[in-house]
C-alpha cells in the first residue's frame, strides 16, 4: 500500500493535503504565514467583514500567497439563511470563486449549527453554482440531507468551535463515514495532534482547524505537529489497524524457552 498518490476530490478540484487551516487569531501576519506553511495546507479559510475606513494596516491577504493557497471563504457569524447566502455572494463578488464554507449558527454559546437552516442555505447556494462545504452537527441524518441537496463535502464538528475538546463522539463520525458519498472533513474541536490523528484513523477525508494551531503556545510548532499527525493518522487508516483483543498475545515465540 502506497500513500504517495493519495489524493481526494473536492467538487472538480483534486486535493493532496488532508489538512485545512483557518487564518484567524494569529498574533501577527508573520506568525500566520509561518504556521500556515508549516501545516502543509493547500486550502485556507478566510472570513468576510465590514471594511474599516482608512485602514492602512496589513490585511490577512498579505499573509497568504494566493498563488499557493486556495481561499475558502466562510459564512461565520451568520445566524440566518439569508445572511449566509448574502455573505457567500459577497465572497464570490470578491473574486474568491465558487467555494464556500457554509456556517449557519444556531446558538451563541456553543456556536452549534442550525442544521435545518444550513440545509436550506446549502440548497440555495448549490442552485446558484456554489461548491458548498457545510459545517454541521455530527449527525448522520443532517449529513445525508446535505449530500442530497448537492454539497461537495460534509464537515461535521468534533466538538464546539474553538473548544479544543477533540472528537467527542467518534461513533457518530464513524456512522457518517459509512454512509457518506462525499468527503467527510472534521471541522471544529481539534485541540492537539492526537485529535487530528484520531479523525484520520476513523477514515475522515481531511481535518479543518484554526484555534488548535493559533491557540497553541507555539503555533508554528503545533502546525507542524498537526501536519504530521494528519499524515500519520491517514497512513494508519490505510494500513488497517490490528484487531483489538481483550487479553495478551505474546510477541516472542512461546517455544524454545530455557529451562
Amino acid at each position: 500500500m502506497n500513500s504517495a498518490s493519495d489524493t481526494w476530490q473536492l467538487g472538480h478540484r483534486t486535493m493532496s493535503s488532508r489538512i485545512l487551516v483557518g487564518t484567524g487569531k494569529y498574533a501577527s501576519n508573520e506568525q500566520a504565514r509561518e504556521a500556515i506553511a508549516a501545516s502543509g495546507a493547500e486550502m485556507v479559510t478566510v472570513a468576510l467583514r465590514r471594511a474599516e475606513p482608512g485602514r492602512s494596516t496589513p490585511s490577512v491577504l498579505d499573509a497568504i500567497d494566493t498563488e499557493r493557497y486556495i481561499l475558502l471563504p466562510n459564512t461565520a457569524g451568520c445566524y440566518s439563511v439569508e445572511d449566509a447566502v448574502r455573505t457567500a455572494e459577497l465572497s464570490r463578488e470578491l473574486g474568491l470563486g465558487d467555494l464556500v464554507k457554509l456556517e449557519v449558527i444556531g446558538d451563541p454559546k456553543t456556536l452549534y449549527p442550525d442544521n435545518a437552516a444550513t440545509i436550506e442555505a446549502a440548497r440555495t447556494l448549490v442552485d446558484r453554482g456554489f461548491t458548498v462545504l457545510p459545517y454541521c452537527s455530527d449527525d448522520l441524518v443532517t449529513c445525508k440531507r446535505l449530500v442530497e441537496v448537492g454539497c461537495a463535502a460534509v464537515m461535521p464538528l468534533a466538538a464546539p468551535i474553538g473548544s479544543g475538546l477533540g472528537i467527542r463522539n467518534p461513533h457518530n463520525i464513524r456512522l457518517i463515514l459509512e454512509e457518506s458519498s462525499v468527503p467527510v472533513i472534521v471541522d471544529a474541536g481539534v485541540g492537539t495532534a492526537s485529535d487530528a490523528a484520531v479523525a484520520m484513523e476513523l477514515g475522515c477525508t481531511a481535518v479543518l482547524m484554526n484555534t488548535g494551531i493559533a491557540g497553541a503556545k507555539h503555533p508554528v510548532l503545533m502546525a507542524e505537529a498537526m501536519r504530521e499527525a494528519t499524515s500519520a493518522g491517514r497512513k494508519a487508516y490505510l494500513a488497517g489497524r490490528m484487531a483489538q483483543k481483550p487479553y495478551a498475545t505474546a510477541s516472542s515465540p512461546e517455544a524454545g524457552l530455557i529451562e
Binding site: 483557518g22 487564518t23 484567524g24 487569531k25 494569529y26 500566520a32 479559510t45 478566510v46 472570513a47 468576510l48 467583514r49 465590514r50 471594511a51 474599516e52 475606513p53 482608512g54 485602514r55 492602512s56 494596516t57 490585511s59 490577512v60 491577504l61 499573509a63 481561499l71 471563504p73 466562510n74 461565520a76 439569508e82 448574502r86 455572494e89 459577497l90 465572497s91 463578488e93 470578491l94 473574486g95 468551535i161 474553538g162 471544529a188 479543518l208 482547524m209 484554526n210 484555534t211
Partner: protein
Amino acid sequence: MSETTPQFEVHVNGELRSVRPGTTVADVVAELDLADRVAVERNRQVVPRAEHGSTELSPGDRLEVVTLVGGG
C-alpha cells in the same frame, strides 16, 4: 454655497452619511480610503464591481462594504 447644495442620507456599514445627488457606489468606496479589495452590497443585493461607477445612490440606501479578514 454648501448649505444650498441638496444632500441626502445613506447608510454605509451601518453608519449614516450625507451624500450629494449623483454620488455613485465607486465614490463612496473611494472616500472610505480602503487599502483592501472590497465587495459592495446595496440594499442586500451585490453590486458587481463593473457597476460601481454607474450605480447612483438613492436616499436611504443601505450599503455594505466588505473585505476579507482572518477566520476559521
